[in-house]
């Protein structure tokens, strides 16, 4: 149940899988994304409402064949340059897009968690997106109203980051909870990285609790959500998001950065040590 992250990724994530690493601005599972890169997973279909830095890294390192998403950018900064390079220039390989709205993605996850074939919503009305994505119309059997239907998300693997797990692998996260509960419950297998293991989970207001028996593997990854934040543990690294704009703009700079901080490090502790080392050199 509680295993090293490298073992969890080796066992549960295979080439060609549909993988959703979710986190809505908070608790983004970056350490798990880095492990996918170290283990050179290929041909993944990556699912995420808000692909940001760690998806830019996965795409730039050639892990992804397809992206299912609703907003792909560097929040508060601008573009994701590796995502753009893949879509606009096919580097390092072409990236197929399946694009939705936030409401559509959320409905698709909720439907997956509920074991339904599709999610239903008032959405995708007008505009050019419906012709470019997987959406259909269903008619309400009671009123005749036409509604949008989106196919349920049923990822092979759901990956999230949480604050705590207990020794049996029950997980608790709190603060902005995004779509993480639905991601785990919609997925065939799931990996949860946590800030720490505690003896007992202390009940908290607005917390999401996931029992051990819906999770495939729990892995300890302290500061594993960097550069996003973990409420109660550390703040968002806003400077990193700004710096990423420069690092990711150029292919060679990007590759060198990934080599130094991800490929040449063994785990999340090594990643953070390499960031500190870089700061010390620069100072």
């Amino acid at each position: 149940m509680i295993v090293p992250l490298s073992d969890a990724v080796a066992e549960h994530v295979h080439d060609g899988d549909v993988v959703a690493l979710e986190g809505f601005t908070h608790l983004i599972p970056s350490a798990a994304g880095h492990e996918l890169i170290r283990q050179e997973r290929r041909d993944l279909t990556l699912v995420r409402m808000t692909p940001d830095v760690v998806y830019d890294q996965l795409i730039g390192m050639g892990c992804a064949r397809k992206l299912v998403f609703s907003w792909g950018g560097n929040p508060g900064v601008g573009s994701l340059h590796r995502l753009r390079d893949a879509v606009e220039k096919g580097w390092p390989q072409p990236l197929e897009l399946e694009e939705h709205s936030h409401a559509g993605m959320a409905a698709a996850y909720a439907a997956g968690a509920a074991n339904l074939p599709f999610g239903v919503l008032r959405g995708y009305r007008g505009g050019d997106l419906p012709a470019r994505t997987r959406v259909a119309t269903v008619v309400c059997p009671f009123t005749g109203e036409e509604l949008a239907a989106v196919p349920a998300h049923r990822p092979d693997v759901g990956v999230i980051h949480a604050q705590q797990a207990d020794r049996r692998g029950n997980v608790q996260l709190w603060g902005i909870a995004g779509v993480q509960k639905e991601t785990v419950l919609a997925s065939k297998r799931s990996i949860v990285t946590v800030e720490e293991i505690v003896d007992e989970l202390e009940p908290r207001p607005d917390a999401v609790v996931l029992p051990a028996w819906v999770i495939s593997a729990v892995c300890v990854a302290p500061r594993g959500a960097h550069p996003s934040y973990a409420a109660g543990y550390y703040d968002r690294d806003n400077e990193f998001y700004v710096a990423w704009d420069t690092v990711s703009r150029d292919r060679e700079t990007f590759l060198a950065w990934m080599q130094r901080h991800v490929l040449d490090t063994a785990d999340v502790d090594g990643y953070h040590a390499s960031l500190v080392a870089e700061e010390t050199t620069a100072a």
Binding site: L80, R84, E88, D128, R132, I176
Partner: protein, 244 residues
């Protein structure tokens, strides 16, 4: 930020102040990051302290002391009346029509208030892949009043969108750095965005020159009230806190 001629405020400040004035104490407002967040928080600190701010990350009734840097800042959750999941936000609160005002931005806007935040160029081979619609398609149709904040230029105010991300049906006002555009019917009955006010120092000609279609100008064209001392003080307090 550049200064606005010899006026003691910037173009961004004029935009934030003018947008904030349109919010009332009773509004429940869906807020994005950047200028919309500045405008909505300014309203709460001036004439509309009861205005409820909702961020799509799931925070309802946020009362941030400093400007948030992302829509999911911890500050927004810590100061909220309630924090809900993202599926709940879009299903129960937005689709449930509990939110009456929504702010949107975009890379392109047309004369009907339709917005593009998806691609520049063809969808399959874009010259610029933009971040995408995010919450915009359903916000545009799920609130009563959409407020758009956009700097005016021919590149942004276009005759024809490269891609229609969200519909302009509920767009009530577009606040730009030059003035205010509102949907108005013309003699031939068609409704389109019309220049109804220019900010101090700007002119209708300037606004026309920064628009990619033949911009209609209202007969009763007004001049926007400049920011008051009180508004500027409140605005700058928010910005200063945001930077610390």
């Amino acid at each position: 930020m550049s200064m606005n001629g010899d006026r003691p405020y910037t173009a961004d400040e004029m935009m934030a102040v003018e947008a904030s004035r349109r919010l009332t104490d009773d509004n429940v407002c869906f807020v994005g990051i950047g200028l919309p967040s500045l405008a909505a928080n300014l309203a709460r600190r001036t004439h509309a302290p009861g205005c409820t701010l909702v961020y799509e990350s799931g925070t309802i009734g946020s009362k941030p002391a400093r400007l948030p840097l992302s829509i999911g800042d911890g500050e927004l959750a810590e100061t909220a009346d309630a924090v809900v999941s993202v599926p709940e936000m879009f299903a129960y609160w937005l689709q449930g029509r509990r939110i009456d005002v929504g702010f949107l931005g975009a890379a392109q806007i047309d004369r009907h208030g339709n917005l593009n935040s998806t691609v520049i160029g063809p969808y399959d081979a874009p010259s610029v892949r933009l971040p995408g619609g995010g919450g915009a398609p359903e916000i545009a149709l799920g609130v009563d009043d959409v407020f758009v904040m956009l700097r005016q230029s021919k590149r942004t105010f276009v005759d024809e969108l490269d891609f229609t991300t969200s519909l302009g049906d509920n767009v009530r006002v577009v606040v730009t750095d030059l003035g205010i555009l509102e949907p108005r019917p013309s003699e031939d009955g068609t409704v389109e965005l019309t220049l109804t006010s220019v900010h101090p120092g700007a002119s209708a000609d300037e606004a026309r020159a920064a628009t990619g279609w033949d911009l209609r100008v209202a007969d009763d064209l007004a001049e926007t009230e400049p920011p008051t001392e009180n508004e500027l003080t409140a605005l700058r307090a928010l910005e200063t806190k945001g930077r610390s």
